[in-house]
């Protein structure tokens, strides 16, 4: 297929930058057939998103992380050899040779070999249990080793090290340590004061930090068992991740006789050419301006510079901004511009709030007109804005401290906000997308979503750091054009859930009809009806089937039972804390026998009875209620179970009476309706047999009281709960839960579990703590009062139905023949019980 006019390009390395080079070259080429591209990759899979590698532990698969699938390479005519590194370059004949013996000639050779984790020559690094953190294979090894490990450490307290340490915690290790040689964390990005605050925040996440530690050896036989430091101290850990920096992969270049730096890196000029004019080096293997750029954005820019030159455009690589924001860890940290310049070369403004764990520093030019750089720890909301102000040399407001404190009182300082940036301000530095390009997409092509923008110009597809800013820009332009749309419920309500919640509350509305007439239009639908029903229930806690509320409930709520295959229902009586008397167990058995129900112990420490005809439900519940049972709300977006472990009353390890507390918690919040279901658990000691840390709110006994955790989740995306308060007594614990639940109910989007809600909450856990524990919004008393009202209004809704003929009448299959059961229901036998028949399709 090769013709004389084709330029032959060989790319060595199919990492992030090598991939980006191919994409850019083909996009710039007048005619794709002008180039014949061959790519060699050493890793077994095609280029993937290394920046979001840690997402692998959060459930992303290797495929999810791919930058492009195999079809893309085929469609673009790229010849891709994976798992086959290039081992030799013959510069005379301009040919590369792969490990498997493939020889490919080139006109231009692009080295994009990236870097490897730097492993310092510490005795013992070869032992089992020592890992690096660079590829998907590394993470697979770590994941499988962590299953049997209890304690882990990371060597290196930089950006990557902290990310790896958080990953250890998320993998479920009991202890995660960070060991840093320097006297502070992230020594290249933040100063001592910032590091102190960061350290305090990380400790509260459960990380142990050890600074100024130099490692003497990794101990253990074939398998490591600890780290010995030169100061004589020691840390017992089962596994260690080394994150001590990167080493450019320049071995191939060196073998080919190209110039490299003594400390690593392939030497290139402004055009990214090596000492051989036909060979370029880009990404983390290239040493340009006397430095290695260990970030993806400058690498992408290098790809662009070389692709431009090969398509006839003159471009040079200019010194690149190294501002960074730490992602993932749960504490905001960012630095931009020159974070370290000090007086007298500049004026420095510092805001240091130890109580709230926030540190901010900005460095201004001596005349106070220009922003030179700065550091943000604990709250990096202004990062994008500050970065842009710094990069674009925007003139500062008269009181520059407003930059970090927000303008206090009066009008918003002129010049603030993304829309005031110049059109050529670079918003997405990974993909070189400017403010002008984004605004144009919104104005001229009606692109109003981040997803749309990703398709239109690839903004937000790299490190993702610009996403909030892109969102603000989209909304800003739409607002300017009078197009601003909010996160509204559905075609019948132009409000968000939170807005409607407040409107219903202020106007004291109690029926769906009133809400629709006053604030909506049309006839409603299956989206807004259950949403309004849930808001009404969360506000007033009145019987959900009374007035006009029955037909607007989700169908499970409408029949106070979960509909199951075949059209029968399940019955789940509440068994608070999982504690039940023999007498009550007998009643459940008798009822199940009488109505022919399948019984099963659930994962929530109670008993589910399946296969009930809709017409039998009231009679079944009548018998259960007579025996002292209440609704278990298994059908509602409501409190489900509060699991308990046996605790100090029987267990030899228990330090508090977890069963009693679990029952008290369940009795307090039973019947509470929320945007999604709520689960809780109480454990009697640190062994955590009740799995409280996987719950929306979980409580673990300590010697001194109780620890309260919030926002955990099981389900398909498990997430550990986060510590909200330590060693509190029962009253304080319940008060904090009251506040937490009411705040969630008030602000969460529909069908959002607490974990997802927290993940979306601006300011994250720090903010949540400030609101719930420190009451920074001054709403704690209101929240508590709101909860107390709901608790006071609680009535068992099944009891109401059993006792109210009009409500009871609705529980029939045929309105015209109330005693006839649905003849289409069929069961088949199963292990001495029965089951619903399979779907007939």
């Amino acid at each position: 297929m090769k013709t004389q006019t084709q330029t032959r390009i060989v790319v060595v390395g199919n990492g992030m930058v090598g991939y980006k080079f191919c994409e850019k070259l083909l996009a710039k080429a007048q005619n794709k057939a002008d180039f014949r591209i061959t790519v060699f990759g050493e890793e077994p899979r095609a280029a993937y998103d290394r920046v979001h590698l840690s997402a692998f532990f959060a459930g992303k698969s290797a495929d999810d992380l791919l930058l492009a699938d195999a079809d893309w390479y085929v469609a673009e005519g790229i010849e891709l050899y994976l798992g086959d590194p290039v081992v030799n370059i013959n510069r005379e004949t301009k040919t590369v040779y792969s490990h498997h013996g493939i020889a490919v000639p080139y006109d231009y050779l692009i080295l994009a070999t990236g870097s490897a984790a730097f492993v310092p020559p510490i005795p013992g690094v070869e032992k089992d249990g020592v890992f690096v953190y660079r590829t998907i294979e590394d993470l697979e090894l770590i994941q499988s080793y962590a299953r049997t490990a209890r304690k882990g450490a990371v060597l290196g307290g930089g950006l990557l090290g902290l990310e790896a340490a958080k990953a250890l915690l998320d993998l479920g290790l009991d202890e995660a340590h960070v060991v840093e040689f320097a006297p502070r964390l992230m020594p290249r990005q933040i100063d001592d004061a910032g590091s102190a605050i960061l350290q305090q925040q990380l400790s509260s996440l459960g990380l142990s930090i050890h600074l100024s530690k130099s490692t003497r050896q990794i101990s253990g036989d074939a398998t490591m068992d600890g780290i010995d430091f030169t100061d004589g101290s020691r840390l017992d850990v089962d596994m260690l991740i080394i994150s001590a920096g990167i080493r450019p992969r320049d071995e191939l270049a060196k073998r080919a006789g190209l110039d490299t730096h003594p400390r690593g890196g392939i030497l290139v000029n402004d055009q990214l050419r090596t000492t051989d004019a036909a060979i370029f080096a880009i990404g983390e293997c290239a040493l340009v301006h006397n430095m290695i750029y260990g970030l993806v954005a400058p690498g992408y820019d290098m790809a662009d510079v070389v692709a431009s030159q090969l398509t006839g455009e003159l471009k040079q690589f200019r010194p690149f901004d190294m501002s960074t924001k730490l992602k993932l860890i749960g504490v905001d940290v960012a630095s931009f511009g020159d974070p370290f310049v000090a007086e007298p070369t500049c004026r420095t403004i510092i805001y240091d709030n130890k109580a709230k764990g926030i540190y901010k520093r900005v460095n201004l030019s001596p005349d106070g007109k220009e922003l030179l750089g700065g550091i943000l720890v604990g709250d990096a909301e202004q990062y994008n804005m500050l970065l842009q102000t710094c990069k674009n040399k925007t003139v500062l407001p008269p009181d520059p401290e407003d930059l970090i404190l927000g303008s206090r009182g009066g009008e918003e300082a002129a010049g603030a906000g993304v829309l005031s940036l110049p059109d050529d301000a670079l918003i997405c530095s990974c993909e070189a997308v400017t403010k002008g390009m984004i605004c144009q997409q919104v104005k001229e092509h009606g692109c109003t979503t981040v997803d749309g923008m990703k398709k239109a110009n690839k903004a937000c597809t790299g490190c993702g750091g610009c996403t909030p800013m892109v969102k603000d820009l989209i909304q800003g332009v739409m607002k300017e054009q009078g197009l601003y749309v909010r996160n509204t419920i559905c075609e019948h309500f132009d409000f968000s859930r939170q807005e409607l919640f407040d409107l219903v509350k202020i106007n004291k509305l109690r029926t769906y009809g009133d809400v629709l007439n006053q604030f909506g239009h049309g006839d409603g639908c299956e989206v807004c009806k259950p949403l309004v029903a849930s808001v009404l229930a969360s506000l007033w806690n009145e019987n959900i089937l009374e007035q006009d509320r029955a037909p607007v409930q989700d169908s499970n709520d409408r029949y106070l039972a979960n509909i199951q295959k075949g059209g029968t229902y399940s019955v789940v009586p509440r068994i608070p804390g999982g504690e039940i008397t023999p007498e009550k167990l007998i009643v459940i058995g008798q009822v199940a026998q009488k109505y022919g129900l399948y019984t099963k112990i659930t994962g929530g420490q109670r008993i589910d009875l399946f296969g009930a005809h809709v017409g039998d439900l009231p009679a079944i519940w009548e018998e259960l209620i007579r025996a002292g049972f209440e609704s278990g709300h298994a059908y509602g977006k409501a409190l489900r179970t509060v699991k308990s472990c046996v605790g100090s009353t029987w267990c030899r390890f228990g330090v508090q009476d977890s069963v009693t507390f679990a029952i008290e918690v369940e009795e307090r919040y039973k019947g509470l309706r929320a945007p999604h279901k709520l689960k809780s658990a109480v454990s009697g000691c640190i062994r955590e047999c009740a799995e409280a840390q996987s719950k929306d709110f979980g409580i673990i006994a300590t010697d001194k009281g109780w620890n309260l955790y919030v926002c955990g989740n099981g389900g398909s995306k498990p997430q550990h709960a986060r510590l909200l308060a330590t060693d509190v007594d029962k009253e304080t614990c319940l008060r904090l839960i009251d506040r937490f639940l009411m705040f969630y109910i008030k602000t969460a989007d529909p069908l959002t579990r607490t974990a997802t809600w927290l993940n979306k909450l601006e300011g994250g856990m720090t903010y949540l703590k400030a609101v719930i524990v420190d009451d920074v919004l001054g709403i704690a008393a209101d929240l508590e009062a709101g909860m107390q009202e709901l608790v006071n209004n609680y009535r068992c809704e099944w009891k109401d139905v059993v006792e109210t003929p009009e409500l009871r009448k609705r529980f029939t299959h045929f309105v015209n023949q109330p005693d006839v059961k649905d003849p289409s229901i069929a069961f088949t036998p199963l292990r001495s019980q029965k089951r619903a028949q399979e779907w007939t399709i």
Partner: protein, 114 residues
């Protein structure tokens, strides 16, 4: 040309169907879902069986409208159907039968073509 004769069957009292909701009636051995769209003063009747997984459940579904078109959502997997035409609005593949409804003296009649 084929003419169909419609027989009207007394199904239930108007009170038997909740306002802006539905219920199922057994008519000639057939399960028919009847809906009272009270907001607009309209009545509809359809098959009770959902064609997706053959569940006898449409009468327990939630009613509403999509750009004015009256619809019902199946409680099982939330497929929605036009109450006027029976066309599934979320999946072209499915269709349910609809029946004419007449209300006289607080009694609901469903018309079935013989």
């Amino acid at each position: 040309m084929l003419t169909l004769s419609i027989t009207w069957h007394m199904a239930c009292h108007t009170n038997d169907i909740p306002a802006d909701g539905g219920a199922c009636a057994l008519i000639n051995g057939r399960q028919i879902a009847i809906f009272h769209f009270a907001r607009r003063g309209e009545w509809y009747a359809t098959d009770n069986q959902c064609p997706h997984r053959q569940q006898m459940a449409l009468s327990r579904g939630m009613t509403g409208s999509h750009q004015g078109e009256p619809k019902v959502a199946c409680p099982f997997h939330k497929k929605t159907f036009s109450l006027r035409t029976g066309q599934c609005l979320t999946d072209d593949e499915y269709q349910i039968r609809t029946y004419p409804v007449r209300v006289e003296n607080d009694q609901v009649f469903v018309g079935i073509a013989e």
